[in-house]
Amino acid sequence: MKRPGSIFCGSSDHGLSRRAFLGTGAAATAGTFAADMTQLDAFKNEVVAGELKKQGKKVILLWLAGGASQFETWDPKPGRPTGGPFRAIQTASTGVQISELLPKMSQHMDKTAIIRSLNTRVGDHGGGAALMETGRKKDPGILYPDLGAVVARELGRADSQVPDYVSMYTSTEGRRKGTSGFLGSRYAPMFLAEKPIPENMRRLDTISDVDHQDRAELRSLLSKQFVQGRKSDTLGSHTSAYQRVRGLMASEQLFNIENEPDAVRARYGPRQFAQQCLVARRLVEAGVPFVKVARAWWDSHGQNFETHRELCADLDHAMSTLIDDLDERGLLKDTLIITLAEFGRTPTINASLGRDHFANAWSCSLTGTGIRGGVAYGKTDPDGHNVAEGEVGAGQLFATILEALGVDPEKEIFVGSRPIPLADFGCHAVKDVLI
């Protein structure tokens, strides 16, 4: 069934996809368009306009693994029994207050929208993470791709010499690699867990460049023979991933922050999370459409305030520095920074001054491209037990993110004959946080 706004006729063979439109050499093609726009009726086409709109859009997801407390970040409740000891401070956006643990971010709220009314209901780490990574509940019949894979597919370029999806998660607790689901390995993340620079990326010294190319050609030949008579998107994705190997090998230096001037490195400072944010900036600057930086572990069942004193200092410095750096380089207008987790934390403060898992009324933030800065959308009740206004689910959040990037959330991908919209069925963007 064709859905309103869909670009598909209903057949997976006839969709006007961005790749079909751009073909290879996307940058050059786009340049040609810009040079002679009057020749192109295609520009009157909404689809084409949309394709150009999302050119160069990127995402940096700051994943606050374990579940950061909304009370100690974006939705403080000072003076309430549930509020904890920290004050709320005024921000650069009149009327919007955040926790005093984020003083630097308070000065960047004119570029940032907060959603304070997430109600995602799933309060266990695995289930919550799966929901917030994919924007929808699990379906036993289908493996959904996560946000990074969807963005990689929608915003990545076929001819790109850099990865489409990089995921950094160095702490071991709650570590999740992410999944490209039914999109196949072409959109799987380059996953960095042990070291900041990808391992096994260089050609072995024992193999000459000629040998390396010969091996690739042999693999390609065998692969072509294998796929003959077989029709599978997964196989195509697999082959496509291999075709990009040599380009990816050349991107190793993007991960090395020692290539940055001392002043820039000093600005980000010595802590790992900030340094990973610097890598993320280098990656998006080079054209990587989706970078996830996971900062674990916010699971503060005991000593919530001490934990957030420490981790919020990390988030505050890294995020504000990243925003400034992107802004000064002219990249923020095309880059969306998201802070998100699997859930928030309970209003009730337990006996060891901790907060437990809580998914019924929590917060996230969106900064940069497509976002109306200075907005605090939605409201929780005075003690933060429930959403009072503007409830937002995981699917709506995904629709909002995609729309901020200029991607139609209702666009369908066909898995066999089954149309799957990019954001979950019936989920619409929160327009109030979008430009």
């Binding site: 374990g66 702490s171 004193r309 200092a313 006996a351």
Partner: protein, 348 residues
Amino acid sequence: MTADPTQLKITTQINISGTALCVTRVPESGKLYFGGSDFKLYRVDSLSEKPTPTALAEKGHDSYVTGVALAGASLVSGGYDQRLIWWNQESGEQVKAVDAHDLWIRKVVASPDGSVVASVADDMHCKLWDAATGQLIHQLDDHKAETPHNYPSMLYAVTFSRDGKWLATGDKVGHIAVWDTESGRKIAELEAPKLYTWDPRQRRHSIGGLRSLAFSHDGRLLAAGGIGTIGNIDHLGGPSRVEIFDWQKGERVHEIEDDKYKGLVEQMQFSHDGKWFIAAGGDNGGFFSIYNTETGKLISQVKAPMHIHEFSVSEDSSSAFAVGHGKIALFELKSVRPDVPPAPETKA
């Protein structure tokens, strides 16, 4: 009344709302002042027939009250709002408020003669105040603002020696400084790094810290309390830990860890005769433990009805008044035969 640490028992529990984080006691009585998570300071006669806490004022601090001390006629409290407030004990009115620190105040104590009030805060300063006038006497600086892992440190603990001559301060990474209170000069440094757990791999943050300090009766020993190494730092699931120093020699005399009752040692106090000391605190629950000073062995121990944040011990060491999560609890350590002074026995 003679104190006997082997006769430890809980006698009274008083329910309160929220979490009480600090307490001080009017000498020779059961009258307590305590404060905590509802930003208020309360008084209660814990030995009355129906103890009922009453707030001193509707409005006092703007955040958690984390320290309270009786210094002569002055009642002084401190909190996360970075202020010290002087209160009139009789009327319950504020006498004076001072913007004392640039970050959250963690503890407030008074010198034994009541002339000086000391406060420690996350700005990593210890400040000594004239209890009568509220004037700053000394600012004691030795504790680093950042941990070795480049995160904000915290200055949790402060205590006076019994003669008021010395003061000790302790921070998150287990660094201890001992000060001459008269001159404000640092006279010793000690390290208790096992009280700080940094998890570099699984969770990449820290937990613990040096939470309590106590001088022995003769001033020779200094006890430092907190929690030992923790595997899963999501919880206070590590052994409660005490280290005893002969601080002038720079020697660690005892390392005591208890796996039966886990959590932070939030406060310690030596008995009036110095033969034993109390260590109390908790995780989700609480503990009240008594150790032999000389051997470091456990004398007696009870599971507390709440995580204990602070306690006050009577002059003869026969009673302790503890506050914590949702409760005030009274502990008795009274000899069953007051005419026969007990000799502390130790458990292996």
